[in-house]
């Protein structure tokens, strides 16, 4: 069974806050859910499926949020694959709707790492429950930034990728963010400014890293019949793929991601090719994340990602592949240290023709959103979603 055309995205909402000192995490989830319902023209009682990730829903995860929101449901999924969870959930929602397990699904994401003063990228993460690999990692102080940095270092060694090429990813994001009034960083930056920003973990500079922001997002998906009864533009999911990648028992290869599997699965289901995509939301936890994923999704040859992103090729109206026109995680928002849902939202805005006029892609009828959750290279899940405007 294919999910192609079986589920539509009818409601989206991105919380405008980037610093939520005066709000709780459940409150942020609720405010996002309310915004997405209003966008769709539906009410809370229409929801019969709830999708979230265990990692950003406090307490008992989905159960606490369902209790807090007062939902009456017949389908729940709180699979957590880090920042890619919500991209994965788009596929899972489509499967559940196609199978008749729910008809109106809510997806939420929210968090406040900035208000909590979290050193997201640089502080070694101590798992609450020991992982099987804990003894072989914790002594070496892996943090998010130096784990991704090791991928970048190897990519540079193996393919000749340069810091200047990585910087172009941030430059493109900043060109888009200047038009987003809610973006955390709205100043346009240059390649020189990126490579001259302080080194965090070689070879990644401060401006190679995404923002630490509070906020959240929510989305409503539904059946074709209900979607057609609403007043919003029709955006449907036509392909989805997911693929975990791990350490392969020690045969570790940090130069590619699970997108080499999730991408082809999504493209095959959708019946389209990378060259057909008019707009792409690409998870941008770090600049290297974008370069590697673009290669793995087939937008360019493996190893040529640095060259592909250079000279403004990702800037809307300038380059061949407009990406992250909201400013992405690098400039706009990375709520709860998880950017998966904001990626889908900007793709939907593009397909609806509701992106900022300065970054709106003309005749945008086919878009891709892709993310990596966990640690690039060693343990992550890749999720790819392809959407079409009807």
């Amino acid at each position: 069974m294919s999910i192609k055309g079986k589920a539509y995205i009818v409601g989206i909402y991105e919380h405008p806050t980037r610093l939520a000192t005066d709000k709780t995490v459940p409150q942020l989830h609720a405010e996002c859910a309310k915004g997405a319902l209003e966008d769709a023209g539906l009410t809370k009682n229409d929801i019969d499926g709830y999708f979230c990730a265990a990692g950003d829903t406090p307490g008992l995860g989905a159960l606490s949020m369902i209790d807090y929101l007062g939902l009456k449901l017949r389908h729940v999924d709180s699979t957590d694959t880090g920042g890619s969870s919500y991209l994965l959930q788009v596929g899972h929602v489509a499967e559940a709707i196609a199978a008749g397990k729910c008809s109106v699904a809510l997806i939420t994401l929210a968090g406040r790492p900035r208000a909590e003063g979290m050193a997201t990228g640089t502080a070694p993460r101590m798992p609450g429950v020991p992982m099987p690999e804990s003894g072989f990692e914790l002594p070496y102080a892996p943090a998010t930034a130096n784990m991704y940095a090791m991928c970048a270092m190897r990519h540079m060694y193996q393919y000749g990728t340069t810091s200047e090429q990585l910087a172009w990813v941030k430059v493109a994001a900043s060109h888009h963010a200047q038009h987003n009034p809610h973006a955390m960083l709205r100043d346009v930056v240059t390649v020189e400014e990126v490579v001259n920003s302080p080194m965090i973990a070689d070879p990644l500079h401060r401006l190679d890293c995404c923002v630490i922001s509070d906020g959240g997002s929510a989305m409503i998906m539904t059946t074709p019949e209900i979607a057609r009864s609403l007043k919003r533009p029709l955006v449907k999911v036509i392909g989805a793929g997911e693929a975990p990648k791990h350490q392969m028992g020690g045969k570790i290869d940090l130069t590619y991601s699970g997108a080499v599997w999730s991408g082809p699965a999504a493209f095959a289901e959708a019946g389209v090719k990378p060259a057909d995509i008019k707009y792409a939301s690409i998870y941008d936890s770090f600049t290297i994340t974008v370069v590697m994923q673009l290669e793995d999704l087939g937008f360019c040859e493996k190893g040529q990602g640095g060259r592909f992103v250079s000279d403004g090729n990702l800037i809307s109206g300038v380059g061949k592949l407009p990406f992250n026109t909201d400013g992405g995680g690098l400039c706009n928002n990375h709520p709860s240290n998880r950017g998966g849902l904001t990626k889908v939202l900007e793709a939907v805005r593009q397909l609806r023709g509701e992106a900022h006029p300065a970054v709106q892609v003309k005749n945008c009828d086919l878009a891709l959103a892709h993310g990596t959750g966990g640690s690039l290279g060693t343990r992550h899940n890749a999720a790819t979603v392809i959407m079409e405007r009807e």
Binding site: S134, G135, C151, R154, D202, G250, K251, I252, L254
Partner: protein
Amino acid sequence: MAQAQQRKITAPPVNPETQHFWDAAAQGKLLIKKCTACGEVHFYPRNHCPFCFSDQTEWVEASGNATVYTYSVMRRAPVPYAIAYVELAEGPRIMTNIVDCDLDGIKIGQAVRLVFKPSEGGAPVPMFTPV
């Protein structure tokens, strides 16, 4: 020059699957697991082979010779340090720190050898230093 300094090293959590590994580490030995069913070596060590899923795995001692597969110097830390994956002569690529050297001189592909460093209240942990 950013010389590796003394960094407080978190003690490795020990469990029934890894007790033997850390007992050997206290003797200055780096152990890896080998599957007697399929012959593959793996790391980190598990009771079941992650390649063929046999539970017939045995401990073997690694030579301690390795090369740097990749690395990164964390600058935003009280004491900068170099995290790395090194490729053991026996095959597996393992996470470690590169120590006792100029952190700015580390190179991918360079030969390194095993040293053990004390952890905070736990077993000594295997790290590597340039040959």
